[in-house]
């Protein structure tokens, strides 16, 4: 038996007895970032494939949500900073070893780009829309000419943003639950799935929704596959990893993870989407709401649980 005590009265707020430095702002931001990445990626994807006409909601309407949630996410991030007035220091340097640094730069690029994306479709979305200034008309023409190249840039930025939401956590080797390289692809896939769900919700076209639903099913399957791999890695891992895994296997996060994330957030909506594809009527808002709920829960669970896990000495 081993017992360790602080005998000098150490009890630092948010650090002792266990770490809780990152609160609701971080998982909310990770969720919104992944969601925006998903929306942007598929908007770009269908432009590159030349399917703008068949997929109006994916390419034109859903992307309106992206800059809005990105800004909300950025506000959440800013809220979480404890030395707020120095936030600009992020943009005085690029530090490649710090995911937070290149993530901040990616956000700096993708947020204005997503606004430009929406603006470039204003003429098609709003009948009679006209840009007031000549320079804007010029940009509009230029963008429409190089639409596909722009779509490629957006797709790549979306992948970086989606992966970054996972790597942000996996870079911390002090937190065994986070310190696994599978978190990058897992958060990417989960983010893309929530993006697809939102787009499905926005779409009014039956055919478009079916295409999105099929893609989403693949993403949910991959996500489940990656979750199985995540836990296989923990089970076969060192003491700190198996200890971390216990939080989900009888520990305080068992129900929130297996019931809310896996069952209600992945398996149940996947079943409903399959039924819908088979021709059964399912209210169109139910699968997306479940997927979004699952995605949000997943990030809350990972951020909260990860902070509890630690090295044992």
């Amino acid at each position: 038996m081993k017992e360790e005590l602080f005998v000098s009265g150490r009890n630092i707020p948010n650090i002792d007895p266990y770490l809780n430095i990152w609160h609701w702002q971080i998982p909310l931001y990770l969720f919104l970032g992944g969601l925006a990445a998903g929306i942007i990626f598929f908007a770009g994807y269908f432009v590159v494939r030349g399917k703008e006409k068949e997929m109006p909601a994916t390419v034109k309407w859903a992307p309106i949500i992206a800059p809005i949630i990105l800004v909300i996410g950025l506000i959440a991030l800013f809220w979480d900073l404890k030395h707020k007035l120095y936030f600009w220091q992020l943009y005085t340097t690029i530090r490649f070893t710090s995911p937070m640094s290149w993530g901040a730069w990616t956000l700096m690029a993708i947020t204005p780009f997503s606004i430009i994306w929406v603006a470039s479709y204003m003429k098609e979305m709003v009948p009679g829309w006209n840009w007031k200034y000549k320079i804007l008309i010029g940009y509009d023409i230029l963008l429409n000419k190089y639409r596909k190249s722009f779509a490629w840039v957006m797709m790549i930025l979306a992948i970086i943003l989606g992966v970054y939401t996972g790597i942000l956590l996996s870079a911390f080797n002090a937190r065994p639950l986070w310190n696994t390289s599978i978190l990058g692809p897992l958060f990417l896939v989960s983010g893309f799935s929530t993006g697809l769900a939102t787009t499905m919700w926005v779409s009014k076209d039956e055919k478009e929704r079916k295409i999105l639903s099929r893609i989403d099913l693949v993403f949910i399957a991959v996500e489940l596959f990656l979750i199985v791999h995540l836990f296989m890695g923990f089970m076969a891992g060192t003491a700190v990893k198996t200890e971390a895994f216990q939080l989900f296997l009888g520990g305080p996060f068992t129900v929130s993870f297996w019931v809310f994330v896996v069952l209600l957030g992945l398996i149940f909506p996947a079943t409903l989407e399959t039924l819908e594809l088979w021709g059964y009527h399912v209210p169109k808002w139910i699968p997306p709401v479940l997927i979004l709920f699952g995605g949000l829960m997943f990030r809350f669970v990972m951020v909260e649980a990860g902070q509890i896990t630690r090295f044992l000495y």
Partner: protein
């Protein structure tokens, strides 16, 4: 030059003088601390093994806090001392998450704070405050590159361990056992 500290766990009685000295010397806000004492008991009664450890930032050679810092506020100064530049720190908490020793804390003024090995004293040729005040002389500070420094001599004839070596951080606090 490579500053390090050796802590004699056989001599430490857990009095907490080092903690008070640090709080006074560095004006550490009430309710926080840059160093602390762990009492570790192993075994079952009556076969118990007791160890006192005066812990603080490990000033790691491979410091994850420096790696994770998005602005470069966390950096390695001369002699391997890990420091935080207050007006470059945005208080994002990445370094706190990255430290396997939980050696950092958010200062009420916003920036992240931690042990500096009392660099302001070391630069003048003095020891860190915790070392000077220790009544059992169980803390040894100095330059590892100098074979005659107090820390080198303390490590020469004794068995020692570092905390969580498997974290790969190459910590520079050596616990004499």
């Amino acid at each position: 030059m490579r500053y390090a500290m050796a802590i004699d766990t056989k001599k430490c009685v857990g009095c907490g003088d080092c903690v008070v000295a640090c709080q006074t010397e560095n004006n550490v806000p009430h309710g926080y601390c840059r160093d602390w004492i762990v009492e570790s008991v192993e075994g079952t009664y009556p076969n118990l093994d007791l160890e006192f450890r005066s812990e603080r930032c490990n000033h790691c050679d491979n410091a994850p806090c420096v790696r994770c810092c998005p602005t470069g506020a966390s950096h390695i100064a001369e002699g391997g001392i890990v420091l935080v530049t207050h007006n470059e720190c945005i208080g994002c908490g990445a370094c706190i998450e990255s430290c396997p020793y939980d050696a950092r804390y958010p200062h009420p003024d916003g920036y992240v704070d931690k042990c500096t090995f009392c660099i302001h004293r070391v630069e003048k040729g003095q020891n860190p405050a915790c070392v000077d005040v220790c009544p059992t002389k169980c803390l040894h500070f100095g330059d590892l590159d100098d074979p005659n420094s107090e820390v080198s001599l303390a490590l020469k004839d004794r068995k020692w361990k570092v905390l969580a070596p498997e974290a790969g951080t190459k910590p520079q606090l050596y616990f004499l056992t």
